[in-house]
């Protein structure tokens, strides 16, 4: 069988995938050369993940062909593709929670001695895979369920690398990673490239696309818009191709003046947090920035009563609040939205509208005497979904079937529909496309302008700097700096989040 491009290791011709009610991928022809990183970009729901899943044997194409190493390939399942030499990191985590890191990496191919698992070899091999990928910090024996989401994502990457495949598919591999891990991944990618491995790299972070890819393939509404060498493209060009119109990627500080303190944490300590104090004002957007394991998620969870505290108090509007369960927090007007949409935020198997209202009905919205009022619920959910541009055939669709970015929007709707005074958003723009990000920045600014208080945790430095009135940097469970006004610069934030605050050390 002949291919169109002799250098191509992987090619698709007229690939099409139809789901009930949606054409997810429409007649896409793509080629990937050996030793090349191909960027794949497009808006939420453009079909990127669908394409990756077709290439890795998860889905069978409705129409069209895949050629691998010059031969027509028909993968019946992910194992076929893996055996052929195509390895993938999915957008959503697929680790088995109660197994160890090592068992997850070597799942289905545990080293054996006789009939038994050779544990020593398993841990040894895992350790060497982890250190090859610059992840020496991860313990092969750690149970996956106990790891923060960023580390889980690193484990997924290590697992995909360990197959020594000829083609590597990365679907938003950095969505839960911070600076150092991303740098690590890039150096691994460069090394793989030199070894002649072909890589497809999906990301909404265009700066990453410019750093690692040689060519970029742009999708819109399931169709190919353009394929260009990376050096010939710039951000504006790609964005305009993705969204079909011009967008300036500006961050958005709205018009609001911070007022009195509404949420205050004093001396919070638990097994990770060390004497953390924190303030949030009405009409204010506070950014929290820190690397993996810095404790930003834990801080937010501790403030809503989702983590037991060893020490410390939380005050809401000046009064000490005993928040032992997230419900207590919601009742005092504080809502937390988790960064881990599959693991901690969404209810797969449930329609969009129920997902959006789950939190609100806990405090009596859309209910009467303990009975739900589905008609009101559905109307409100539909309005909110439309406001956030959730792309779906209807609000009755199972959230499981939404693209990652659209799931993220459902998470936001779920947090905001309750109308909370204090909103703690953990990575609200994770996996969201450029156009929709702008909408979310604007939404956050609007929340502050309406007199609400917003905490905005993000791994993306520019958006923290661009949106926040005040920034806390965190490192190893401590707050290392509080920056305001002109102090909020990239340089400052990075400096402080790599440093352990000496004063904090002394007081514990």
């Amino acid at each position: 069988m002949e291919t169109m491009n002799p250098k191509a290791i992987l090619e698709t011709r007229n690939l099409t995938k139809v789901f009930p009610g949606v054409i997810a991928l429409d007649d896409v022809s793509l080629s990937l050369n050996a030793g090349e990183v191909l960027g794949l970009v497009g808006e939420n729901g453009a079909g990127k993940s669908t394409l990756m899943k077709l290439l890795s044997g998860v889905y069978a194409p409705t129409r069209g062909e895949i050629y691998f190493s010059g031969r027509k390939a028909q993968f019946r399942n992910p194992k076929d593709a893996l055996d052929a030499g195509i390895s993938i990191v999915y957008q959503e985590l697929n680790l088995i929670p109660h197994l160890s890191v090592a068992e997850n990496v070597f799942i289905n191919r545990l080293p054996r001695r006789g009939a038994f698992v050779d544990w020593a070899k398993l841990y040894r091999d895992t350790r060497s895979i982890l250190s090859d990928s610059g992840m020496d910090g991860i313990d092969p024996k750690a149970i996956v369920a106990d790891l923060p989401i960023g580390v889980k994502q690193s484990v997924e990457i290590a697992k995909a690398l360990s197959y020594k495949a000829k083609v590597l598919l990365l679907d938003e591999p950095t969505s839960s990673l911070t600076g150092p891990e991303i740098e690590n991944l890039f150096s691994v990618i460069r090394r793989l490239r030199e070894m002649g491995i072909g890589i497809i790299y999906v990301s909404h972070h265009l700066d990453e696309i410019f750093q690692v890819t040689q060519r970029v393939h742009v999708l819109r509404d399931g169709k190919t818009v353009v394929v260009v060498p990376t050096v010939e493209a710039d951000e504006e060009f790609l964005v305009s191709k993705m969204v079909g119109r011009d967008i300036k990627n500006i961050y958005y500080k709205g018009q609001h003046t911070p007022q009195e303190v509404v949420l205050q944490a004093e001396g919070l300590s638990d097994n990770l947090l060390k004497n953390v104090s924190f303030k949030l004002r009405k009409s204010e957007v506070v950014g929290v920035y820190g690397l993996l394991g810095s404790g930003r998620t834990e801080l937010l969870k501790a403030m809503v009563g989702a983590r037991p505290l060893k020490k410390g108090t939380v005050k809401v509007r000046g009064k000490v609040a005993k928040l032992r369960h997230p419900l207590d927090a919601i009742k005092t007007g504080i809502v937390y939205s988790s960064e881990d949409r599959k693991g901690e935020n969404l209810f797969f198997g449930n329609p969009i509208w129920k997902n959006i209202t789950y939190l609100a009905i806990q405090v009596g919205r859309f209910t009467k005497n303990g009975f739900t009022l589905p008609r009101q619920e559905r109307r409100a959910a539909a309005d909110f979904a439309a406001k956030l541009n959730v792309k779906a055939p209807s609000i009755d669709v199972d959230v499981y079937n939404l693209s990652g970015g659209n799931q993220q929007k459902v998470c936001l709707a779920k947090a905001l529909i309750e109308d909370p005074e204090i909103v703690l958003l953990d990575e609200p723009t994770r996996g969201i496309d450029v156009g929709a990000k702008l909408e979310i920045y604007r939404l956050i600014a609007d929340l502050a302008a309406e007199g609400r208080a917003v905490v905005f945790v993000s791994s993306e430095l520019p958006e923290v700097i661009g949106c926040a009135d005040r920034v806390y940097t965190m490192s190893e469970g401590r707050i290392t700096a509080e920056l305001t006004g002109d102090e909020i610069t990239e340089e400052n934030v990075l400096k402080y989040c790599l440093q352990v605050d000496a004063a904090g050390e002394a007081t514990t």
Binding site: V58, A306, G343, E344, F348, Y358, G370
Partner: protein
């Protein structure tokens, strides 16, 4: 149009078609099957299973399991029999019996949420303990002779319909309303679908777990009342193996052991399906050993069809 599409693809509907098909088969094979008397008989026999399976549905919706139900039904019967013979008035016996059901549920809820034991293990232990206590209290003997006011709940009639059927249908209605239309019902599905997300959304997940096991306990107490009244006897070996029929009915009805999926209507169809098979095989004089095999095969088929369907839609 849209409604009919969702209806056609729902698990309940498919099982319902299966029920009709099997019913048609038996109607064809046996002239007795379609008689009003026989149909009411199926409903009557299904009512005790149905009450237990309703409780089981609540538990399975949260990804739990309750293996103790058969033994708890038997223990409830023996306890009531002994109290009646000890001269306790009927109304008080029934009240204490319900309290007993609640207590069993609280025990399960406590062990699972506070101690962190797995539902399978806790309820397996209770299954053995309850059966043991049943034997101890009854001395291994069947207890007879109850006041008519007590037996009314199992063998009485209101108009043409037996009280047991009325209790079953009322209970099913309340359960269906609770699951479908209340916040608590929604929360039960949420806990089964994603317990971490449920807690972060403000759902008191422990209370929910307590609640479902209490519902299962109460269901056993009600089933114990109806069964003992119907038989006019409390037998220490009563309701043996009921847990498996109840679980089978719930799963046939479209629920998933992984939690978050299932309905009372589905469960009832599942119970009726098992009831119809039992009844039909009796009418056709299928030998008992083959009955057990065939029932198992039908359960396997029903669950297989549902699994294949899910596999298709989720890839």
């Amino acid at each position: 149009m849209k409604l009919s599409k969702t209806l056609l693809s729902s698990s309940e509907f498919i099982v319902f078609l299966g029920l009709l098909a099997i019913g048609a088969f038996f109607a064809f094979m046996s002239p007795v099957f379609m008689t009003k008397f026989n149909l009411l008989n199926i409903l009557l026999q299904s009512s005790i299973q149905g009450i237990i399976a309703i409780g089981m549905t609540f538990v399975i919706l949260t990804a739990g399991i309750d293996l103790s139900v058969g033994s708890v039904v038997a223990l409830s019967g023996v306890l009531m029999a002994l109290m009646l013979h000890g001269g306790v008035p009927v109304w008080l016996v029934i009240l204490i019996n319900l309290v007993f059901g609640v207590a069993v549920g609280l025990f399960h809820g406590f062990s699972i949420t506070k101690i962190g034991m797995a539902p399978f293990i806790v309820t397996l232990a209770t299954m053995a303990m309850a059966r043991g206590l049943t034997m101890v209290f009854s001395d291994g003997k069947t207890i007879f002779d109850f006041p008519p006011a007590f037996e009314f709940f199992g063998s009485g009639n209101i108009g043409p319909i037996s009280v047991a059927i009325i209790i079953f249908l009322l209970y099913a209605f309340v359960a269906e309303m609770l699951l479908r239309s209340t916040v608590l019902g929604r929360n039960i599905y949420a806990v089964g679908s994603n317990i971490k997300a449920a807690a972060l959304s403000g759902i008191r997940t422990r209370w929910v777990l307590y609640f479902v096991y209490v519902v299962s306990g109460i269901s056993c107490a009600i089933a114990g009342l109806v069964l003992t009244g119907r038989l006019g006897a409390a037998m220490p070996t009563a309701a043996t193996g009921y847990e498996l029929d109840a679980i089978a009915a719930v799963i046939i009805g479209g629920a998933s052991l992984m939690g978050g999926k299932g309905t009372i209507i589905g469960t009832i169809i599942g119970v009726l399906l098992i009831g119809v098979i039992n009844n039909g095989m009796n009418l056709l004089n299928v030998p008992p050993f083959w009955q057990s095999f065939l029932k198992g095969a039908v359960i396997f088929l029903a669950v297989m069809i549902d699994s294949l369907k899910n596999k298709q839609s989720e890839v």
